[in-house]
C-alpha cells in the first residue's frame, strides 16, 4: 500500500489526538506541529511505526519568528521514508526565554551536528545532547546571530533607503 499524506495524518491523530496539530500540505509535503515536549515521542513514533518508517532525518534547522510571542523559536525536522519515497515536515515551537528542546541524537546520529548548528545560530538548548557547543562560529561568541534581532546591516545607516532594498 502506498503511503499517503492522509494516511500519515490519520495515524498521527490516532496516536497523539490533539497533541499534533496544524496539518497542512504545501508543495506536496505534509507539515504538522506538536508541543515542544512531545518532539521525541512523535519522532520515535514516525521512526518505529512500521507502516510509517521515517528513518532518515534529511534536515534539521531553526527559524526565528520574533512576532510569535511565546513561540519565537521553531525547530523544523524534515524526515524521509526512502522506501515509500515520501517526505514530511515536522516542527515545534519554543519561547525564546526558555528554548529547551529534547535532542534527537538518540534516534539519529546525523542530528548531532545539525543540532549544534541550530544551537550555534539560534541558541536552542538541546537537552541531552552529548556535545552541545558552537560549531561554525567562534567559541567566544556570546550571541546567536541568525536570530532576527540582529539585522544584517547597521540599521542606523542613513545613506540608503531600506524601503527600496527589500525589508525595511
Amino acid at each position: 500500500m502506498a503511503l499517503t499524506n492522509t494516511y500519515i495524518q490519520e495515524k498521527l491523530v490516532e496516536k497523539f489526538n490533539d497533541q499534533v496539530f496544524q496539518f497542512s500540505t504545501d508543495s506536496g509535503i505534509l507539515s504538522f506541529e506538536s508541543a515542544a515536549e512531545n518532539n521525541l515521542k512523535v519522532l520515535q513514533f514516525l521512526y518505529e511505526e512500521s507502516s510509517l518508517g521515517f528513518t532518515f532525518l534529511t534536515d534539521l534547522c531553526g527559524v526565528n519568528y520574533p512576532d510569535n510571542k511565546g513561540a519565537e523559536l521553531v525547530v523544523v525536522y524534515h524526515l524521509h521514508n526512502f522506501i515509500e519515497n515520501i517526505r514530511i515536515r515536522f516542527s515545534i515551537a519554543v519561547p525564546i526565554a526558555k528554548p529547551d528542546v529534547f535532542t534527537a541524537t538518540k534516534l539519529f546520529e546525523s542530528a548531532n551536528w545539525m543540532e549544534r548548528e541550530t544551537y550555534d545560530f539560534f541558541g536552542i538548548n538541546f537537552i541531552g545532547h552529548p556535545n552541545l557547543k558552537r560549531i561554525l562560529n567562534v567559541d567566544e561568541m556570546d550571541y546567536f546571530p541568525l536570530r532576527k534581532e540582529f539585522p544584517l546591516e547597521d540599521q542606523t545607516r542613513i545613506d540608503k533607503d531600506d524601503e527600496m532594498f527589500g525589508r525595511g
Binding site: D26, I29, V76, N85, W113, N137, P145
Partner: protein, 408 residues
C-alpha cells in the same frame, strides 16, 4: 632525567599514552580548510575531533537580505567543485516555489550542464583519492579534461569556477555553436581518458590494498548518519534524488544508479567512476534530444516569466514594459508569495537541499541549505577509529568533503 623547573607541562601530559596530532586547518591531507585533532597510539587512530567553520561566511544570514537572483552567486561557493549543480538547484527551488514551468529544451540544457559538473566533481574526488594513495599521475592526467568542462562553462556563462550560471527561468543566453562544438570534443575525448584512468586504478594492486576495507560503513549506519549521494550508494542504498524526485526532466533519461556493498573507500571510488559513465550517457541523450528541436524551438533558452527573467537589453532601451521589469528585478522590488518549500537536487556529493520560507517579503524570510557533506562528515570518527593514520587520510579524501559546503 634532568629536571626543567622552568617548563610547566599541562596536567596529565606525562602520564598520557597517546599522542595528539593536529591535521589541518591547512594541511595537504585535508584538501580544504578544516581541522582534525587526532589522538593516535603509534599509527593507530584512537579518536578524532573534527573542527569546522574556518571559512564560515554566514550565507544563511546574507540570503535573508537579498532578492532571489542575488542568492545564486552565494550558492556557487558551497560545493565549488560543482557550482553549476548548486546554481541549478537554487533556480529549481525558486521555480518550484513560484510555480514556473520550464520548456523542455531548457531542462535538457540544464541536464547537460549539471552532468558535466557532476563529472568534474567526481573527477577531482577520485583523482585526489589517487594522490593520497601515492599515485599522482591520474590526477595530473584528468585535470586536462576538467579544463575542457570549464571551457564549456566559460562559453555558456563566461566564468569557470564560481559560475553563477543560468537564471530563474532558464539561461542568460542561448548556447552558442562553439559551446556545442566544445561539448562534442569533450564527449569524444573523455571516455577514452576515463577508461585509462580506471585502468590506472581499479585493478591496481597497491590501490586496492590501500582502499579496500578501510573507511567502511554499513547501510544502516550510513542512513542513520544522514549519508546521501555516492557515499550512501557505496554502502548499498540506491537513493538518488534524480530518480526519487525527478527535477529538470530527469525522468526522460535512461540511466542506472550504481551501488556498492561495503561502503568502504574502494566502493566509493567505484561508484563515482560508474556515475561518471552514467553522466556521459545522460549528456549524450540530452544532446541528442536538443538536436531534435528545430526552427524556433531550437532558439528557446528560457521560460516566459517577465517578473523574474531579465528582459533583453535592447528591449530595455526601446520598450516601456521591458524597462519596468528590468528596474523592478534589479532593485529587488518583487514581492514573493507566502509559503515554504523544501527542494532538493542530487549534488556532487549528496542531496543538496534548499529550505526556503517566505513571509511575502521581497527576500526569503529564512533560507537553509542542507549541505550533504556537513551532515556526513560527522561519521568520520566512526569510519577511521582503530585504523591506521594513513588510511584516515584516504578516507578523508574519499568522502568528498568540500570546505565551502561544510561551512556555508
Amino acid at each position: 632525567m634532568e629536571q626543567h623547573s622552568h617548563i610547566t607541562l599541562p596536567k596529565g601530559s606525562i602520564e598520557k599514552t597517546t599522542t595528539t596530532l593536529n591535521i589541518g586547518p591547512t594541511h595537504p591531507a585535508t584538501h580544504g580548510v578544516f581541522q582534525n585533532i587526532m589522538e593516535v597510539d603509534g599509527e593507530r587512530v584512537v579518536s578524532t575531533e573534527q573542527t569546522v567553520g574556518y571559512i564560515h561566511r554566514a550565507f544563511e544570514k546574507l540570503a535573508e537580505r537579498r532578492p532571489l537572483y542575488q542568492i545564486t552567486p552565494i550558492t556557487d561557493r558551497l560545493n565549488y567543485c560543482s557550482s553549476p549543480i548548486n546554481n541549478m538547484g537554487w533556480h529549481i527551488t525558486c521555480e518550484r516555489f513560484l510555480k514556473i514551468d520550464l520548456p523542455k529544451r531548457v531542462d535538457y540544457l540544464r541536464v547537460i550542464i549539471m552532468e558535466l559538473s557532476r563529472i568534474s566533481d567526481h573527477l577531482i574526488c577520485n583523482s585526489i583519492v589517487g594522490v593520497d594513495t601515492g599515485a599522482y599521475t591520474g590526477f595530473l592526467y584528468v585535470m586536462q579534461y576538467r579544463e575542457l568542462i570549464y571551457e564549456i562553462y566559460e562559453e555558456v556563462c563566461g566564468s569557470r569556477l564560481t559560475t553563477n550560471i543560468g537564471r530563474i527561468g532558464g539561461f542568460e543566453r542561448n548556447f552558442t555553436n562553439t559551446a556545442f562544438t566544445k561539448l562534442e570534443k569533450f564527449l569524444n575525448e573523455y571516455p577514452g581518458v576515463l577508461r585509462e584512468f580506471e585502468k590506472l586504478f581499479t585493478r591496481n594492486r597497491i590501490f586496492m590494498e590501500r582502499t579496500q576495507g578501510t573507511g567502511g560503513i554499513s547501510a544502516a549506519r550510513a542512513m542513520n548518519y544522514g549519508f546521501t549521494g555516492p557515499n550512501l550508494r557505496a554502502a548499498g542504498v540506491d537513493y538518488d534524488v534524480r530518480v526519487q524526485q525527478p527535477y529538470s526532466s530527469y525522468q526522460d533519461f535512461d540511466f542506472k544508479v550504481p551501488v556498492g556493498t561495503t561502503g568502504d573507500n574502494y566502493d566509493r571510488f567505484l561508484v563515482r567512476n560508474a556515475e561518471m559513465w552514467e553522466s556521459i550517457s545522460i549528456i549524450k541523450q540530452a544532446y541528442q534530444k536538443i538536436q531534435e528541436f528545430k526552427g524556433a524551438d531550437a532558439e528557446i533558452y528560457h521560460a516566459d516569466v517577465p517578473e523574474y527573467y531579465l528582459p533583453k537589453k535592447e528591449d530595455v532601451y526601446t520598450k516601456m514594459e521591458a524597462l519596468i521589469w528590468h528596474f523592478k528585478i534589479i532593485m529587488g522590488e518583487i514581492d514573493l508569495p507566502k509559503g515554504q518549500i523544501y527542494s532538493a537536487v542530487e549534488g556532487g556529493n549528496g542531496e543538496l537541499g534548499f529550505y526556503l520560507i517566505s513571509d511575502g517579503g521581497r527576500t526569503p524570510f529564512r533560507l537553509h541549505f542542507r549541505r550533504p557533506c556537513f551532515i556526513y562528515y560527522q561519521a568520520f570518527e566512526e569510519l577511521i577509529k582503530g585504523g591506521m593514520l594513513s588510511d584516515a587520510v584516504v578516507t578523508l579524501s574519499s568522502l568528498n568533503l568540500i570546505a565551502g559546503e561544510l561551512d556555508a
